[in-house]
């Protein structure tokens, strides 16, 4: 099976761009990354159909000289799915913006707990007698509201 070099390079560029955007913090960029990645994979499926030949319509082209129609059918299905996903992610990003004023993907709850716990422990370790009260406060903070800055939304919900 031979593959067009242009398509192969295009797949590489699209997927690379998609991965970079997926690693971003803002949900809108993540969404764009998903779109790029999806398109890259669609082009890859197209490339899997082999080099371009004639339209696979009986009567218009010779039997041995037709494109494989199956990859195109699959791409069509996956375009529809990607489209629906894009719409949903947009709604999600908008709702996130409505609630929090930004659309950034937030940290895992467990990550934040571990981080605040470590801060509290560090306070405890370094602290002399005068700092003991601060350590107590920090420990209480872990139990009640771990990080008030980026946690406002969470507590507001609860």
């Amino acid at each position: 099976m031979s593959v067009s070099a242009v398509l192969a390079i295009l797949v590489g560029v699209l997927v690379a761009g998609g991965v970079i955007l997926l690693l971003e913090r803002s949900l809108t960029r993540v969404l764009l990354g998903a779109v790029l990645l999806g398109n890259g994979i669609n082009v890859m499926i197209l490339a899997m159909g082999g080099v371009a030949k004639n339209a696979p319509i009986i009567g218009q082209s010779a039997k041995g000289d037709q494109n494989d129609p199956l990859p195109q059918v699959m791409i069509l299905t996956s375009i529809v799915i990607t489209f629906a996903m894009t719409a949903f992610l947009l709604a999600l990003a908008y709702r996130s913006w409505q609630l929090q004023g930004h659309d950034e993907v937030q940290d895992d709850v467990e990550d934040r707990l571990v981080a605040t716990r470590r801060e509290a422990e560090e306070l405890e370790d370094t602290g002399a007698d005068a700092d003991l009260e601060a350590a107590e406060d920090a420990r209480a903070a872990v139990e009640e509201t771990p990080s008030p800055d980026d946690d406002a939304a969470l507590t507001r919900d609860a």
């Binding site: 099976m1 998903a34 494989d68 999600l92 609630l99 467990e110 872990v142 771990p146 919900d157």
Partner: protein, 596 residues
Amino acid sequence: MSTAALVPLPVVLPLIAAGVKFAIGPRLPKLHRAISVGTLSAVLLVAVLLLVAADRHGPQVAAIGDWRPPVGIVLVADRLSALMLLISAAVTLCVLIYSYGQGSADDEEGLPLAVFHPTYLVLSAGISNAFLAGDLFNLYVGFEILLVSSYVLITLGGTASRIRSGTTYVIVSLLSSLLFLAAIGLVYGATGTLNMADLALKLRELDPNIRLVLELSLLLAFGIKAAVFPMSAWLPDSYPTAPAPVTAVFAGLLTKVGVYAVIRTETLLFPDDDRVAAVLMVVAFLTMVVGILGAVAQTDVKRMLSFTLVSHIGYMIFGVALGSRLGLSGAIFYAIHHITIQTTLFLTAGMIERVAGSTSSEKIGGLAKTAPLLAILFFLPAMNLAGIPPFSGFIGKLALIQGGAQDGSWLAWVLVAGSVVTSLLTLYAVGKAWSRVFWRSPRVAMPSAAADDAAGGSGSPNDVRGATLGGRDIARGGAMPRLMTAATAALVVLGLAFTAVAGPLTDLTDRAAGELRTRSTYVEAVAPGTVVRTADGSTEGPPVRLPADFDRTSSDAGDPFSGRIPGATALPPRPSSGGRVEQQGVGASEIERGAP
């Protein structure tokens, strides 16, 4: 009417019902209930019929639109599919009834339910489609149907915490879908077919290294769905914030769909690769141990249950990695047991939340007095999950440990040790949660809860609140709605029934495992020894003779791995035609069962 005509119904019925429900709109609540319950009951009935037919007469195959494989789409119900379908239908029906109990108790007949119930039906259609798909692309479509509806369900009500956890879930699932799609593209590029029966024949002809790449890329995509260890971090963060019925059905079924796909990949498509089996063993061990250590550290019941969910996926992967008849049988049994038990536990967690206003074991206590029935409903499945002897968890774990012992390799023994340790730690984790929530005196627990109330009810991030379907705070201390109790009790009884019917059930899973290893049964059922429609219109293809090592039944008696002879030894001649379209004609034209 032959039972094969019933195969599409578990997919079609819920989809039609969902459409009808959207058309009716928020009116006529009684009709809505009748449609939902009626549809899922019908699916349950169909699943029973399919299981009986698949067990007696072999795999039931429906070629959609009468397009023959490998070009057309087929839905296949063999023993494994029918069994998974049956248990998922039973569980979705119980959770549906529970959600009606919760909905009416919360007086939410209006808006949110109008979204929840149709979406729930679409979810069940997607699950059925994934179990029945006989074609990789159709499996992808099934995954997408269930994923898209799960996105809607997990962000139901659109509260801040659900949007936060939903974002993680959606992005991770989206990535796994894209990986799956890429894997499908690669498989198609390598073989020119996506029909699983056809792939079982054609993948043998490939270079073993290419086959390894395809296998790993598929396993990667399914591993994310199944929450296997390195790809499991998304699960405990995203599941607990959803409404109780949603979390329950996700925990029970969505990860098991991933496990099912792993089982199919490892048995039908890529049965003979020791390297991957070793990788799966390591991954299974890490999933078990890391997952359960996470569970031990949790104070919130729902989060603790999410971690045990991850941990126990390891048991099923362990069985698949063994690849022997005993191992696969154990994995299937364990999957059925775990679907039921994990769903039940999440439903009871929802009820705890309703009674006590929280699921954090630091804040609540002494519920055994106020809700003794709930204490029993939580205790039984909890002990079942830990694998205390009379329960089905013990039977499943025993089968897997036996499979590991039969395998005999040092890696398998490590896994056996790991599963025993995991089982004990599960007992510790659920025991701790139970005794804190139900057993200890309320006075010890209540001060912090009271302080929390004084602070305006703003809990720690561990506290996952807002359990109504619409995302509002639930009413505290209300009486337990009868429907919720009844549905949970039904699932508890189902979990106990696995012990009562353990004999016939293990026989059935054993036959299912045997069928998985005898690949020619599946291939013959999908492409019966007749002519296959070829792309260039001719009706004849070269006959494919199945090599003797195509099925792995011969190795059942002795060392399970002895059957895994590398496929390259007895290859049928590779078709010489270079083009891809031409290759499609080489399908399972005339299959002869290899004499082992």
